[in-house]
């Protein structure tokens, strides 16, 4: 009190500044505590996120405009070439899809024989990326759909080539996602060739994942495809994650040094797909 009266007599001093800053610091610490310990503050986050949304749109506007110009000024020749390429690609994919349908029904039949629960197909939806790289040590994306469209925390995100990441925070019209290359992210995988289970960690580099828990004698080699195992419940099983590129075995170390390249080009994607796992799958994970 004495201090603040002293401040008032000096015109250069701001009244009660010290008290205000102490109160704000205490509030900050409380807010951080509650945000860290439990997620009580999601509503506040969501409200402020909605307020920041127009700014994100404005920031993204130049690159959107550039893409639009680029698309609308593509020459006829280029378009015809692209059309030809896409037609060929579609033919190939269709051919592959035919086999897939047969395989799927065969799989269902075999599962029925084994009396296993039927794995229902996952629902997907395409979302546009409206921002990325919020800061340098976390690999984050902001996508253009949110809780209004049924997005939920922990939802898996893939693109045409493989797993991209998962939703960590859902706003009303946007959602924040963590990439598999984030140093704090890990995804349970299996080696497609032999079913060896392990975990792939992000490294902070877009083109590298690490598999730190493989013993020296593990059956893994360069070129092996890693797919999601479905364990842990966050990612549905069977989506490609990465391809192993180096396996270094050092006799004196207990674990082999294995790195892999993500199947999705994490720093180049513009659109992603969100996966809604079916209730059957989520029941399985709670059991």
């Amino acid at each position: 009190m004495v201090a603040s009266r002293g401040n008032n007599t000096n015109p250069a001093r701001i009244p009660a500044l010290g008290i205000r800053v102490i109160v704000l610091i205490i509030i900050s610490i409380l807010v951080m505590y509650f945000d860290h310990r439990e997620n009580h503050l999601d509503g506040i986050r969501r409200a402020i996120g909605a307020a920041v949304y127009p700014v994100r749109i404005a920031v993204d506007a130049p690159s959107r405009l550039w893409r639009w110009l680029d698309e609308s000024t593509t020459s006829r020749n280029d378009l015809e070439l692209e059309l030809g390429r896409l037609k060929a690609e579609r033919l190939l994919t269709n051919a592959r899809l035919q086999r897939l349908t047969a395989l799927e029904s065969e799989n269902a039949r075999l599962r029925a024989l084994l009396e296993a629960r039927n794995r229902v197909r996952d629902e997907v939806r395409v979302a546009e990326i409206i921002a990325n790289d919020a800061n340098a040590y976390e690999h984050n994306l902001v996508i253009g759909i949110g809780s209004r469209d049924g997005v939920y925390d922990g939802q898996a995100i893939v693109d045409a080539d493989g797993v991209v990441g998962q939703v960590i925070e859902t706003g009303i019209m946007t959602a924040q996602a963590i990439l598999i290359s984030d140093p704090d992210h890990a995804v349970p995988v299996v080696v497609n060739r032999n079913g060896l289970r392990t975990i792939a960690f992000g490294t902070g580099e877009f083109d590298r994942l690490e598999l730190p828990f493989l013993p020296n004698n593990a059956d893994i080699r360069a070129g092996d495809l890693l797919v999601t195992s479905g364990l842990g419940g966050a990612f549905p099983a069977g989506y490609p994650v990465a391809v192993v590129d180096f396996v270094t075995r050092m006799p004196q170390e207990p674990f082999a040094d294995v790195t892999a390249t993500p199947a999705a080009a994490l720093d180049q994607i513009r659109e992603v797909m969100l996966i809604w796992s079916t209730p059957a799958a989520s029941e399985e994970e709670t059991e």
């Binding site: 205000r20 800053v21 610091i25 900050s28 700014v55 040590y137």
Partner: protein
Amino acid sequence: MSRDRASRRLPVIITLVVGLMLAIMPLPDAVRSLRPDWLALLMIFWAIQLPRTWSVGTAWIVGIVLDVAYGTLLGQHALALCVVVFVTVRLHLLMRVFPLLQLTATVFALLALYQFILFWINGVAGVSSPSITYWGPVIAGTLIWPPVYLFMSGIRYRSRSGG
């Protein structure tokens, strides 16, 4: 009176919104760790110039918005920005008469304090903290401060003579 007030607040609000845009603008990988803390620079500037209107309360709100935009722990940037602005307001009379070089050195210290608080909170919260590139924004912010300061002073005196 209220119109006069509004016309004085507008430049600050506009610069803060532009600062937020610069803060969340996507950047290529190579220069990402050299992005200055635009909002910290702007808040330091306005705290030197108008410490009665724009001090710790504004800094706290700006910090919370930054936390949401970056997806960091809610309150992290708010706390750091609040402390930095508090120190700035305490020193604002001194900083007003500093020559630019000395002012830049002070801003370097303030930015280092800002980054250190963020670093410290990351450590307490168990968020994995990075290497030397973490301090890139401090260097970049210090280097960009003189042009930002001159530009902002231009805005400030134009808006003053206009209002």
